[in-house]
Amino acid sequence: MTNWIDIGPLEAVRKRGARIIKAPGRDLAVFRTIDDDVFALVNACPYRDGPLSEGIVHGRMVTDPLYNWVISLETGLAQGADEGSVETFPVKVENGRILLDLETVAQRSAA
């Protein structure tokens, strides 16, 4: 089951930028690409927990601001020679509002 909740307008996140979402136990980050696609990931790089929300967004990827790991926003997988992955969460845009699936967030924080 999904439970889409409104977390804010698309314009609140810059193109090729990100914003933090406070969630139980850890922060998530919502990213917006140049083409207005949005993605939600845990805000921590698999390598030393770099805050991905502060990285440079290019295409559908983000570069970790601390150690330059490149992470796929779609799959959460580290690209290139690095190995690791970041949890991703269902998120979408409807009528200019960003919607996040609270159910998934709640389940994973309870687990």
Binding site: K22, A23, D37, I56, G59, M61
Partner: protein, 816 residues
């Protein structure tokens, strides 16, 4: 039995429904309809799409009429043109117009179209503020004469057509567009860049990312548009083309279900079984319509439904093939990027052609084309059919006529440069002169330098000269391999810098298009240097892109390994006051700063500040009179000083005062890498001036200026640039050296690395020996500082403070 049909609106949708209905009746099929047609415009049906050629003078109104009075009377349609519908009684099924006449109906069709959206900014109701929707608007634009001024708000299709049409009549037109590139719904950024370039070539001024604030007037008539950055754009006519809204007013008044448009089902039926709606006024499965193709589909379906046949409207994916003022554009499908997707990009800078295909699982899912759209329908067909393109990937981009061609040439960007393109800026040598020298027998870099002087001075264009050699000589020349900037290009940093200047590339899309970038928007390796090169070379034209900066420069603080930040206020020349120290101490207490550290550059570092607290701590420090120390910047950091002759018994000059002057002149300037200065009051050198990027040592006779020192990964003593007698000369030489470094060095080369490449002699020639050049460098630095010498903290607090806060807090919701 004859039934009564009433249609409200005589636009293209209604015209097409009547075409289908009357055809069917003439063929003797279906029901017999007695039609009444209302239209608020005092005329029949014309092809609204063709208003642009009317505006530009290529066609007349008569050319674009599709259904005139004669047509309607021949078909027996009762027309009520110029009459507004004022009342509809759904129970009695009667309509009343503002002429007082009533008519009854069995079936009613809303074809009320859309209304242009007028931004309700101050002054929108002045005379001379119009939309671009109907013949009246077109005639108003046509009434402008050569030399008059017009402003168009909106860089979509309609706005650009209006702009181009007026420009063709000699009107001075400025287009103001809110988004970063033109036609952002149909085009990606590179294609938008090419379109902008074509419009600028036609004499149209284009302002993107421009926010309109208010329209000013005089005696009730429009006078100018004010932007929120203070720009004033004088105009005799202001056209708003910012979009359309479905016209649902009447439908909503009589209680039909409406959302953004009038809700219709697959048969175009509304919530009243006797009422239908069609065209730009409807909403179908959440979609609204502005293009003619799906609307004509609706007309066909509605005509069948009215004839009692089965039909359903399916909104098909459409491709957009447009000609904006002679520029061919095409877009279809989904052209967003993704890492499960591959881009195939083709750029021909010389012809101004850009094509991009987006592939997923070996199928084309999106296409954007500019300049050459001949193959658009072929690609569109494959998008619709989901054709597997694995067998033709190599040559796919060349289209159906070209299968089996050779792979693209990495040197094509240089090959495409015109002969007059400047290659060597120092000596003013163009590509044509180098080609001539090669043809006359100079076949390597040394020979080119000897015969033309190209690349013989600062040397940064060596790579380009070699590429010209390679292009001209073909297989006879092997280009020495030097690392390209990143995977997005084959050009080196030096090549890119040189071409940004010589080709006057002033935006990131311009660089990527003209230099044949292989990705659509670059990567984290090339975007930060490109952003720097552009802002350093075009301080007035280019606007800084924070999303192309690394985190420290975007957040104006240094990120630490635990994700917190360090905050360093500026202390000019290392001088501070008890008040400043108290403010720093208060801030450290208030924001629970765990670590306070004195830096090597003579200031105080507050480490461990939480990201969300940054705007608040900056505000406190700003209020105490301090600005950002740029401790995070590829730019000027600190000017370290000793106390000088005021206090020290060995001091020879006012080293502290000079340090403050230098820091006041240089702060805020961006550079290829960090820049640290020091001023020592005597040769004992307490401020360690001899291992700085620029270091001044005061002596009895004046000042020794050293440059290109380092105390980082490498330790290196400065080299003497000049000995001068006055403080003013120190300032001049320092600023000129800084600007020469800013204009020429590769991103992330500290000054000592750059000087090693170009040679101190060349630097001295520019900065010390040639007074004209020195003054020119200083002038350019001042222009840059007029834009960039500002406190980023104050700016962020004023404009972006909310970006530092989380967008949402789910800690409570998710726990429930």
């Amino acid at each position: 039995m004859t039934q009564k049909l009433v249609i409200i609106g005589a636009g293209m949708a209604a015209g097409r429904v009547l075409d289908h209905l009357t055809d069917a009746q003439e063929n003797g099929s279906g029901a017999d309809w007695d039609v009444t047609l209302f239209n608020a415009e005092p005329r029949g049906t014309y092809n609204r799409i063709m208003l642009s050629p009317v505006l530009s003078g290529d066609k007349t109104y008569g050319d674009i009429v599709t259904h005139d009075d004669d047509w309607y009377s021949a078909k027996g349609v009762d027309t009520r043109f110029g009459v507004k519908v004022t009342e509809i009684d759904r129970v009695a099924k009667i309509i009343r117009g503002d002429d007082g006449r009533e008519v009854s109906y069995d079936k009613l069709v809303f074809a009320t179209g859309s209304n242009p959206f007028i931004i309700p900014m101050p002054g929108h109701d002045l005379d001379g503020v119009i939309a671009y929707r109907d013949l009246e608007d077109t005639q108003e634009m046509m009434s402008l004469t050569a030399g008059q001024k017009a402003v168009v708000i909106g860089g979509g299709l309609l706005g650009l057509e209006a702009a181009a049409g007026m420009a063709a009549r000699g009107v001075e037109v400025t287009v103001v567009h809110l988004m970063g590139h033109l036609m952002e719904r149909q085009l990606d950024e590179p294609a938008g860049y090419l379109l902008r370039k074509a419009l600028v070539d036609k004499g149209i001024t284009v302002k993107c990312s421009a926010n309109s604030k208010e329209i000013t007037g005089e005696n009730g008539k429009v006078k100018a548009l004010m932007l929120d950055d203070g720009t004033e754009l004088p105009c005799d006519l202001l056209v708003m083309a910012v979009g359309i809204r479905p016209n649902t007013g009447l439908a909503a008044d009589i209680g039909l279900a409406c959302g953004r448009g009038i809700h219709v089902d697959d048969q175009l039926g509304t919530s009243d079984q006797n009422i239908f709606a069609i065209g730009e006024c409807v909403e179908h499965n959440g979609d609204i319509f502005g293009l003619v193709a799906p609307i004509f589909d609706q007309a066909k379906v509605l005509a069948k439904v009215l004839q009692g046949e089965d039909a359903e409207f399916v909104n098909r994916e459409v491709s957009t093939k447009l000609k904006v003022t002679g520029c061919d554009l095409f877009s279809a499908g989904d052209f967003a990027e993704g890492d499960d997707r591959d881009d195939i990009v083709f750029r021909d800078p010389a012809r101004g052609v850009y094509k991009r295909l987006v592939l997923q699982d070996n199928k084309i899912i999106g296409a954007v084309m500019y300049g050459d759209t001949a193959d658009g329908s072929w690609f569109y067909g494959m998008i619709k059919d989901g054709t597997d393109v694995s067998d033709m990937r190599d040559t796919l981009i060349f289209g159906p006529a070209y299968q089996g061609g050779s792979s693209s040439d990495p040197l094509s960007a240089v090959a495409a440069l015109p002969d007059e393109a400047e290659i060597c800026g120092c000596n003013g040598i163009c590509k044509g002169e180098i080609v001539k020298a090669i043809n006359d027998g100079a076949t390597d870099l040394g020979a080119i330098r000897a015969t033309t002087k190209a690349s013989a001075s600062c040397g940064t264009c060596s790579g380009l000269v070699e590429q010209v050699l390679a292009v001209t000589l073909g297989d006879e020349f092997v280009v020495p391999t030097e690392a390209p900037m990143c995977g997005c290009t084959d050009l080196t940093h030096e090549d890119v810098r040189r071409l940004i200047k010589s080709q006057e590339l002033k935006s990131m899309p311009a660089v990527m298009q003209e230099l044949g970038w292989k990705t659509s928007c670059g990567c984290h390796v090339c975007r930060p240097p490109l952003n720097y090169y552009l802002l350093a070379d075009w301080p007035l034209e280019y606007s800084d892109d924070p999303q192309s900066r690394f985190i420290n420069e975007r957040k104006h603080a240094n990120i630490q390994k635990d994700g917190t930040y360090s905050v360093v206020p500026r202390m000019f020349g290392g001088m501070t006051t008890p008040d400043e120290l108290r403010a720093i101490a208060d801030a450290a207490d208030k924001y629970s700063v765990p670590t306070v550290h004195v830096t090597g550059g003579q200031r105080i570092d507050l480490l461990g500040v939480k990201g969300a607290d940054l705007p608040a701590i900056w505000k406190d420090l700003n209020d105490a009179g301090m600005v950002s120390g740029h401790a995070y910047a590829k730019g000027l950091r600190t000017v370290k000083t000793c106390v000088g002759k005021d206090h020290c018994r060995f001091g020879t000059q006012d080293s502290t005062g000079l340090g403050i002057q230098l820091e006041k002149a240089l702060w805020g300037s961006w550079a290829p890498h960090k820049v640290k200065l020091a001023v020592s009051g005597c040769p004992r050198n307490c401020s360690e001036a001899t291992c700085k990027d620029i270091g001044v040592v005061c002596v009895d006779s004046g000042y020794q200026i050293g440059v290109a020192g380092a105390a980082g990964m490498d330790v290196k003593e400065t080299e003497r640039l000049a000995d001068v007698a006055t403080e003013q000369e120190v300032l001049d030489m320092t600023i000129a050296f800084m600007q020469l470094y800013r204009e020429n060095a590769k991103y992330l080369d500290r000054a000592y690395k750059w000087v090693a490449k170009v040679g101190l002699d060349w630097v001295k020639e520019q900065v010390v020996e040639n007074e004209d050049e020195r003054n020119a460098l200083i002038e350019r630095f001042k222009i840059s500082q007029s834009v960039y010498q500002k406190d980023p903290w104050a700016e962020e607090i004023a404009k972006e403070a909310d970006q530092y806060e989380p967008i949402a807090n789910l800690t409570l919701e998710a726990a429930e």
